[in-house]
């Protein structure tokens, strides 16, 4: 073993009460989790195939509208499904499984901090998300002739923020979930609301005003809006903007995402459980 590499991520992390964060410790937990994910056929199938299969299904009846082509709609929707299945659903089952096996409690007796345990368990999900996003971008450019992202930093930040939101929501949801099997039920509210609200099944902007405004406040919708702004330069209604132009439109969805991060932190602190029920 080499000397510990402590990456102290300064003020914000400490102010959130997360303490020192060690990438080495997160890596050790993440490697073990990746082995566990690949050994669990159900979980591996969900994480690897479900997003693709869902998008393939949607491809049979979705068509693009306005300034978003069918290919662009499918490609950005793929990001949404990855966030829902690979990050959210997969992590709810992971957190519940580790809690019920006593692994979370055992880890907490050691040097790892609470934040490192949560992030460490999420590493495979985040790695798979990155891999599927890269594959989607490549496939979309080759098969659908999609443009190079208008604002790559915005696209990456949007994906990162989406990961943060859904990791937190997964941690909070695991608190309501007694067993890995019941996760199929406890994850439904977030999954269904996210799907109907995020424009998978049509553009949010084309809905009546009141409903559109509610949908825009759901967790996945602003993430995908930012993704479409970053990649295509538009969420559909307006003609595509340039690198600077999209930033002006990114303000409102970014605010909603930040709100969901705050909700996620609060809900995780409120409901997440380290130990099985006594």
């Amino acid at each position: 073993m080499t000397a510990p590499t402590e990456a102290t991520s300064g003020g914000l992390v400490r102010r959130l009460g997360l303490g020192r964060v060690s990438l080495r410790r997160i890596g050790a937990l993440g490697r073990a989790e990746l082995v566990l994910l690949l050994r669990n056929k159900t979980a591996a199938t969900t994480a690897l195939l479900l997003p693709l299969a869902t998008v393939a299904l949607f491809a049979t009846f979705l068509t693009g509208e306005g300034h978003v082509s069918t290919g662009a709609l499918l490609a950005t929707s793929m990001f949404g499904f990855v966030l829902l299945y690979v990050v959210y659903y997969n992590l709810v089952t992971t957190y519940v499984a580790r809690r019920e096996e006593g692994v979370l409690k055992r880890l907490r007796t050691g040097v790892v901090t609470d934040a490192e345990i949560l992030v460490g368990a999420a590493v495979p999900a985040l790695v798979l998300t990155l891999a599927q996003v890269v594959l989607t971008v490549v496939a979309a450019t080759v098969f659908f002739d999609l443009p190079v992202p208008v604002n790559l930093p915005l696209l990456l930040v949007a994906l990162l923020a989406g990961c943060v939101v859904f990791v937190l929501l997964a941690a909070a949801s695991s608190g309501f979930t007694r067993t890995v099997e019941t996760a199929q039920i406890t994850t439904m509210p977030v999954l269904i609301l996210s799907m109907i609200g995020s424009g998978f099944t049509g553009q949010v902007a084309s809905l009546p005003d009141g409903i559109a405004r509610v949908f825009q406040m759901l967790p996945l919708t602003p993430v995908l809006e930012l993704v479409r702004l970053g990649w295509l330069g538009t969420t559909g209604a307006e003609p595509p903007s340039d690198f600077v132009g999209v930033l002006a439109q990114a303000g409102r969805p970014a605010l909603v995402v930040l709100l969901w991060v705050a909700v996620g932190v609060w809900a995780t602190r409120r409901w997440f459980r380290w130990d099985t029920r006594r």
Partner: protein, 338 residues
């Protein structure tokens, strides 16, 4: 008792060599109307010492130990490990502690080696994984998944993980439960070797033999309180020695001579059972001498004569059977331990 000092941050070790200090500790489950599992427990463990918490199931041993490990905030009282609060000063205390919970807590689908590598990756200065697996005799099982291990092998894996980070203090919750006798003795040997290296150990057990073998001092818990505590000799000294034999035909126990140090039978213990008479004394040798002299003088043959000093078993059974009455006399012992 071994008092070798280990290397460590001197600021963390109080000058008197106290590693664990527990004061009036309380733990309540389920809010103010809930069940109080720990009801005012106090004890301290010195550097290099092995302190055992004994007790029946549900006595509050594990609940107490979990607070010392810093897994939860006490509902009353304080815990100090190396002078720090193990719950609030987690980052300062954890690098120096090794913990073995009552139930493993390792992913069943990982192999032994993968588990050990994962755990080592979270520790600041881990020992080599192979060496630790060798110590607990699990090296040949390195490629076996945890779910395929026997209960005893899982216990040993757990112990290996507890010592992997070179801790200064070990918290072991029933470390040998489920082990066969040979593995149990191997574990004892390993724990003794760790004590020689100056490591401090706090363990819970319901094997009296384990406490008698290993403990420098021990406490017996009952219903959330420490009922009696001290060295094995001190705890046992509070209980009388026993002499028993088959009551000869026609002999009235009242005809027996007064024995030195004679004690009344403990609560619930009949003096004559199944034809055997049991006498209790604080001074076994003079009492036995008097009894045998008297029997020789009368030409009596004391069939099935059995004389034994009190053991931990007597102390333990006395606590388990009559917790209430023992508790009164136990208070003074408890005061002495603080």
């Amino acid at each position: 008792m071994n008092q070798t000092m280990t290397a460590g941050d001197p600021r963390l070790a109080p000058p008197d060599g106290t590693v664990v200090q527990v004061t009036d500790l309380r733990r309540r489950y389920g809010g103010s109307g809930g069940f109080e599992a720990v009801r005012g427990v106090s004890f301290s463990v010195a550097q290099g010492e092995l302190f055992a918490l004994l007790g029946t199931n549900g006595a509050g041993k594990t609940s107490t130990l979990e607070l010392v490990e810093g897994l939860d905030r006490p509902s009353g009282g304080t815990v100090r490990v190396f002078g720090r609060d193990p719950y609030r000063d987690r980052a300062a205390v954890r690098p120096r502690t090794g913990v073995m919970l009552q139930e493993g807590g390792f992913p069943p689908d990982l192999t032994v080696a993968e588990t050990a590598r994962m755990w080592a990756g979270t520790l600041p200065h881990p020992q080599p994984v192979e060496r630790v697996l060798e110590l607990v005799d699990l090296r040949h099982r390195a490629r076996t998944q945890v779910k395929q291990l026997s209960g005893g092998e899982r216990r040993r894996l757990d112990l290996a993980m507890a010592i992997l980070g070179r801790p200064d203090v070990l918290f072991l919750d029933e470390p040998t439960t489920g082990l066969d006798p040979e593995s149990r003795h191997n574990t004892w040997q390993l724990v003794r070797a760790l004590l020689v290296d100056g490591i401090t150990v706090l363990l819970t057990t319901h094997y009296l033999e384990e406490a008698a073998e290993l403990a420098d001092r021990l406490a017996i818990m009952h219903q959330g309180r420490i009922v009696t505590a001290g060295t094995v000799a001190e705890v046992v000294a509070a209980h009388p020695a026993r002499i028993n034999f088959v009551l000869p035909d026609g002999l009235d126990p009242a005809e027996l001579p007064a024995l030195p140090g004679s004690q009344p039978p403990p609560a619930n213990a009949p003096s004559v059972a199944a034809g055997r008479l049991t006498l209790y004394t604080d001074t076994l040798q003079p009492a036995l001498t008097t009894l045998l002299g008297w029997a020789n003088g009368r030409g009596l043959d004391l069939i099935g004569l059995d004389a034994r000093s009190a053991s931990l078993e007597e102390a333990f059974l006395a606590v388990a059977q009559s917790g209430e009455s023992i508790r009164e006399s136990g208070e003074s012992v408890q005061e002495g331990v603080r």
